[in-house]
């Protein structure tokens, strides 16, 4: 199943790892800030309406 990567194996794996880590980090940070702002806003709205 695992493909034969030959002498360039490390190169290919590294490139994939870098990409996955970077986009994963970006997505995680985006989600985290989204959650934070959503919670803050909900608290504010609740206080305004309640």
């Amino acid at each position: 199943m695992w493909p034969e990567l030959g002498k360039y194996g490390a190169t290919v794996i590294n490139a994939y790892i870098v990409t996955i880590v970077a986009t994963g980090l970006l997505t995680w940070l985006s989600l985290r800030s989204a959650r934070k702002s959503k919670e803050t806003l909900e608290k504010l709205e609740a206080r305004r309406n309640g």
Binding site: A15, A22, L26, S37, R48
Partner: protein, 241 residues
């Protein structure tokens, strides 16, 4: 109904909230499909060996790195002309995504260059241009954070996006001139189109589609965050009065 209806933040929130899950799921599906297909089920190329598999990540991220800036340029223009807040905030939200894509494109390019050129970094016009683009992203984001009044920040970053676009393009050609002028550039490049045969083309297309959808999903998510932050600050300012 005109497209500008969505420039209203409230309407944008409703509509983007509905779309976001679809974009997220399809982005994940396409990226996973494209990358698995590319990584496991495509043959090696004569010239590149297994490093050809890097195109499935390098090409989409490089495309997004440039197109995110183009999108910021258009969004900034819309803000300057029609003064739709969502447009300015979308440009702000796109910058970090574009910057990360640029970094990934540079890193994957450098990692690929190591076995191909014998060095991680060659002042290849393409790599160099991406480095320049990255600096433009940094400056753009830094200007956003430096100005406290949001509308003023939107105005000024838009001007920077205009000027930056012109000079990013100029730099691209200048860098070409410079590299050829000084020494023969590395002629081997990862994303030269003639190297892409059908076997690689289809999974590449899927991966590109996946990354574009990922960009849209992240853009919607981050724009929503920016809109919420604006509302938070506006509400807090009103309470403080």
């Amino acid at each position: 109904m005109s497209i500008w209806e969505f420039a209203n933040p409230v309407r944008f929130m409703r509509f983007s909230g509905k779309l976001l899950p679809y974009f997220s799921v399809s982005a994940a599906l396409l990226i996973v499909t494209g990358l698995i297909w590319g990584f496991f089920f495509t043959p090696e190329a004569d010239q590149f060996g297994s490093t050809v598999k890097i195109i499935y990540i390098h090409v989409p991220t490089a495309m997004l790195a440039i197109n995110a800036w183009v999108m910021m340029f258009v969004a900034s223009l819309i803000w300057l002309i029609r003064r739709h807040h969502v447009s300015a905030l979308a440009a702000k939200a796109a910058a970090p995504i574009g910057a990360v894509m640029t970094v990934v494109a540079i890193l994957t390019g450098a990692i690929w260059g190591q076995p191909m050129w014998g060095t991680y970094w060659a002042w290849d016009p393409r790599l160099t241009s991406f480095l320049v683009l990255f600096i433009f992203y940094l400056g753009y984001m830094a200007l956003w954070t430096a100005i406290e009044e949001e509308d003023k920040a939107a105005d000024l970053t838009s001007v920077l996006a205009m000027v930056g676009t012109v000079f990013a393009v100029l730099s691209r050609y200048a860098v070409n001139f410079w590299n050829q002028g000084l020494h023969q550039g590395a002629s081997l490049s990862l994303d030269k189109e003639e190297h892409v045969a059908d076997v690689y083309y289809l999974p590449l297309l899927v991966a590109i589609g996946g990354f574009v959808l990922l960009f849209i999903a992240l853009l919607l998510l981050r724009t929503r965050t920016e809109i919420r932050n604006r509302r938070i600050r506006a509400l807090q300012a009103r309470e403080a009065r």
